[in-house]
Symmetry: C2
Amino acid sequence: MKKVEVHIRLGDCLDILSEMPDNHFDLIVTSPPYADSRAKTYGGIKPDKYVEWFLPRTQEMLRVLKPTGTFILNIKEKAVNGERHTYVLELILAMRKQGWLWTEEFIWHKKNCYPGKWPNRFRDAWERCLQFNKKKKFNMYQEAVMLPMGDWAESRLRKLSETDKTRDESKAQSGFGKNVSNWIGRDKVYPTNVLHLATECGNKNHSAAFPKTLPEWFIKLFTKEHDWVLDPFVGSGTTCQVAREMGRNSVGIEALLENYELALENANPVQHTLFEKEVPYETHYTA
Amino acid sequence: MKKVEVHIRLGDCLDILSEMPDNHFDLIVTSPPYADSRAKTYGGIKPDKYVEWFLPRTQEMLRVLKPTGTFILNIKEKAVNGERHTYVLELILAMRKQGWLWTEEFIWHKKNCYPGKWPNRFRDAWERCLQFNKKKKFNMYQEAVMLPMGDWAESRLRKLSETDKTRDESKAQSGFGKNVSNWIGRDKVYPTNVLHLATECGNKNHSAAFPKTLPEWFIKLFTKEHDWVLDPFVGSGTTCQVAREMGRNSVGIEALLENYELALENANPVQHTLFEKEVPYETHYTA
DNA sequence: GTTCCGCATGAATCGATAG
DNA sequence: ACTATCGATTCATGCGGAA
């Protein structure tokens, strides 16, 4: 019997983080407000001002992250004036000057992206998941995210419709997390740095631009049970909700009161009791 | 009967391009030697020197590209010292200062890669295909790369056609047939900026995993027949080979004699004659 | 209980219109 | 000239109701 803590805090993460101790978190995973979005919360940061706005916050994140910890930043630059804006590129360069190591760039392939048609551009179906670290040696539990493959995937792939084949052969990989128990005992392979996840769209009230499967995958990969997870832009609480279900302690920070209350509701920040043998966390969530 | 030209040139593209006229090419598509690779050819450019080395060449490419043309740069930064190197990010920023517009970043998802992992890293299954333009208005033939639609309409279309067969055929000639044709017109969708292409693994020729499908897709998207395509690092000639098969004129430049001879062989740079009715180029390749 | 169909709904982007 | 707002475009997904 172990306790899992969930803390949801109201305020700008720049202020909240300043009260937190050094080297505390094993994983920071977040999807910050993109440029020109969430105007109510942060005043709708202009693309040209984005790096300047973000850097003080990454400075605090660098401080509160353990030396063995990882920072996953989910972000995508928008199209401005017919061009991709460069603020994400500049952010990476600036964060390295802060002391971050830019270890890897995962690609989140959004299977169901926003529709639309333009004369000069196709639909944007991917986002960056930038991995930053403090040290070259960090904790990584690669076996936790292994994919079932082998005969099952092969036969399944063969049975896919002709449409599926020509469009996207990733279906065999996209099911990670789903029905994991069915595949236990089968051959498994390591995943790649391309993630195939759908955004959870038609859900009741709020559509999750940040699907549970995204923080879930990185929490599996970079933490073990009872590690500490931080989301400095927790929004409706998805990261903390997933962390709790997986037996990880977490802190979520949200600046907008409306989202804060939603996060309280979703993440249920009461100290929970996990009876490990009866309910191992793996059974608590599904993809 | 129209002629398709293929020119293969031996030398550094910096020199060869300097002899070529302004505003000549409709598409430049290339996969340049990555940093530290192909040491024989270009002396093994160090990652830290990559931007400096590449910029004079993009300057020439900017000159020879038509104002309505597009430059597709397939590139991926390597991991150096446990970090992703930043030379690609810096290259994008520097090329914008040269006058290029960074219009889009396509992701090439390499589907069938060999398995493998590193202690701190999964297998790298994607590469950047950076799109640069001279002007905000450029030629783009989006219909040429449309894909079959998803399951939703596929099942509907199948049902309609079954109904069409088993039921009263006279209906097909009246209003009902129009409905069918409407659905048929809707059976294709525009793609996204994520490309799912397989690498040609068992390729005897070269280690360079530059599959024909990659230049093919961009040639379809950004050129029409008899347009001019340039690959300044043509390697074994793949781009020119595909261009010829698609009825586009092309110029390929290669600095290494060994590759140059291979390109001569593969791209068959004799002026070819296309009898359009007998062998429309569309039949030469598949998606 | 299945399977199927209709429908709403998006971290979007462009171009035109208005202040 | 430069910014703010609005309409049109488009498709994968899951829900609820119907056959």
